[in-house]
């Protein structure tokens, strides 16, 4: 067996035909991942015992003739901002370096109930804040496609392990593009579901009204299978959506996308780096060949999405990160002093530069005299961004766009310009602000061989349409 190229369906067939056991697959996946990880630093730590126990449970179910679940034996990596009981969850921060959660995230429970085997936790930007994975307190991740380049972020590790073959699928989180952008940079599939489609219980909060958990995979089928397993209403997350979860596999089998109406937002194609633009243009020609009805549309508020996002996400982050004060979460500064001095010293000592920047920005926009001008104003603009999409979806089934203005850049290249880094999130943050499902599907490569992803966005809860289009495109684009 070659764990680096296995798909979920190949694993199911292999288990059924007794070509290998779940425990053999788990051992091989762990051996390969541990051997390959020094090249990329994509895993922060492995969950060997938990993986072995999960694999053993799958083998026992198979031996008893029971259904071991749709993810039976599948080696899965989980971003280290999603809590795992008994397995360290650091958020790639010094603040939580030794934190061992006393409970599991709902997505983690569901994934194991479906037979998945969690083999390790992946590196990311600290508290998921960043677009290059260089904000990790435990070292940057290198892009397996080009080791001198970033994998994107914040879910850089989760994208890299799937591209590198050191996991079959993985979970990441997306607040402003943190799944789609690294998926595009590493040449894999990355899905941000509808807001509320997957429970956020156990996802360490960054910006609660924008945070999503979603899958990475090497093909659309595997991404859909993983989402199917973790989606649905959860009593532990009051914002999780009650809508029933459709059968995504059936939606993809329906196959034909002839006549599907696709909108290309003109605002997303202005100022696009030329090679990325060329790759996307070829992808769009491919959609036309499939019989899609492609037309230009306008999402006029796009230009304001970046400032809107950075006000709202930073405001929410400043509230959410207030809990790390040296009392409940492992780290406390050794500097003596009063309670307040202890809070300040702990936070100053253990948060990295990007977290401090977001906390400061968020505290500023929420402070007296600025709350209405910044925070409430941004929430009104968010409403306009969402309305742009709901108007567009009156006329089209899907929106197709680039994911990032450029492909993976060199490590260190963009470290000293936070504003320029924020501006590069322009094509991904709109989907998060509107709460609609969106994904990156591999589209092509630049002349240097760097992957470029194409973004597909659909209306709330229309992951079925999104997967159908992505699957048809993937099949035609091989």
């Amino acid at each position: 067996m070659n764990v680096a190229t296995l798909t979920i369906s190949e694993i199911q067939t292999g288990l059924r035909e007794k070509k290998f056991t779940a425990q053999e697959l788990c051992a091989e996946a762990l051996r390969f991942a541990e051997a390959e990880n020094p090249k990329t630093n994509a895993y922060l730590h492995f969950s060997t015992e938990r993986a072995q126990a999960a694999a053993r449970a799958v083998d026992e179910k198979l031996a008893r003739g029971e259904d071991p679940g749709p993810l039976a034996g599948v080696p899965v990596a989980v971003k280290d901002v999603i809590v795992t009981k008994g397995v360290r969850t650091t958020c790639a921060s010094k603040m939580l370096e030794t934190y061992v959660p006393p409970y599991d995230a709902t997505a983690v429970i569901k994934l194991e109930q479906a037979g998945g085997v969690i083999i390790g936790k992946t590196n990311c930007d600290e508290f998921a804040m960043g677009s290059s994975n260089e904000n990790s307190a435990f070292g940057a991740v290198r892009n397996p496609v080009a080791l001198d380049r970033v994998p994107g972020g914040s879910s850089g590790g989760s994208a890299a392990v799937v591209a590198q073959g050191t996991a079959v699928v993985s979970l990441g989180s997306d607040t402003g593009g943190s799944i789609r952008q690294p998926a595009s940079f590493c040449g894999v599939v990355g899905v941000t579901p509808t807001y509320g489609r997957v429970s956020r219980y156990g996802l360490v909060a960054f910006a609660s009204s924008l945070d999503h958990i979603g899958p990475f995979a090497r093909n659309v089928n595997d991404a859909a299978t993983l989402l199917q397993a973790i989606a649905g209403r959860d009593p532990m997350d009051s914002t999780s959506a009650p809508a029933p979860v459709p059968d995504y596999a059936a939606a993809m089998k329906a196959g034909d996308v002839r006549g599907m109406k696709i909108g290309l937002p003109k605002e997303y194609f202005e100022g696009l780096a030329s090679e990325t633009g060329d790759v996307i243009a070829r992808g769009i020609e491919g959609l036309k060949k499939l019989g899609c009805d492609v037309r230009e549309i306008s999402l006029p508020t796009t230009k304001y999405a970046v400032p809107c996002y950075y006000v709202i996400s930073s405001a929410e982050a400043s509230s959410n990160l207030a809990r790390y004060d040296g009392v409940r979460y492992t780290r406390r500064s050794a500097e003596a002093g009063s309670l307040i001095d202890m809070y300040k010293a702990t936070r100053g000592e253990f948060f990295g530069a990007e977290c401090k920047r977001r906390i400061m920005l968020g505290t500023y926009v929420l402070s007296h005299g600025y709350y209405d001008a910044y925070y409430i104003k941004a929430q009104r603009v968010r409403h306009l961004v969402a309305q742009d999409f709901s108007k567009a979806f009156e006329n089209v089934d899907a929106v197709v766009a680039p994911v990032s203005p450029f492909p993976a850049f060199k490590l260190g290249e963009k470290l000293n310009d936070p504003l320029q880094t924020y501006l590069s999130d322009i094509y991904t943050i709109t989907g998060d602000l509107a709460g609609i499902p969106c994904m990156s599907v591999p589209c092509g490569k630049t002349n240097d061989g760097l992957p470029v992803g194409m973004q597909i966005l659909t209306n709330h809860f229309r992951e079925d349409t999104m997967f159908r289009l992505a699957h048809a495109f993937e099949q035609s684009n091989q």
Partner: protein
């Protein structure tokens, strides 16, 4: 300059965040640049547009039934504390005799 170092210190105080002198200078520069960019929001006429705080969908009342359930044992909750004792989180003394 929209943001002075004095304002940075004031906001850091609100956020309970200790910053070094270098960090204050850098933060003033970066926040100034970012906030100047954010200022373009004021170009947009949002009269009559409701603030959108959350993505919510029809059909869900949001809240689960209020029934008693299991909670985490005290020892597990305090296991991650920087300092704990007798089932409590320990903090520096806040009341002086």
């Amino acid at each position: 300059m929209k943001i002075t170092e004095q304002q940075v210190r004031y906001v850091a105080d609100l956020a309970n965040l200790k910053l070094t002198t270098d960090e204050v200078a850098r933060m003033a520069r970066e926040m100034d640049e970012i906030l100047s960019h954010i200022d373009q929001l004021s170009e947009l006429d949002t009269t009559g547009v409701e603030p959108m705080a959350q993505v919510l969908y029809p059909g869900g009342d949001g809240l689960r039934d209020d029934v008693e359930g299991a909670t985490l044992p005290n020892a597990e909750v305090t296991a991650n504390a920087a300092a704990a004792g007798a089932g409590f989180f320990k903090v520096p003394r806040v009341i002086e005799r």
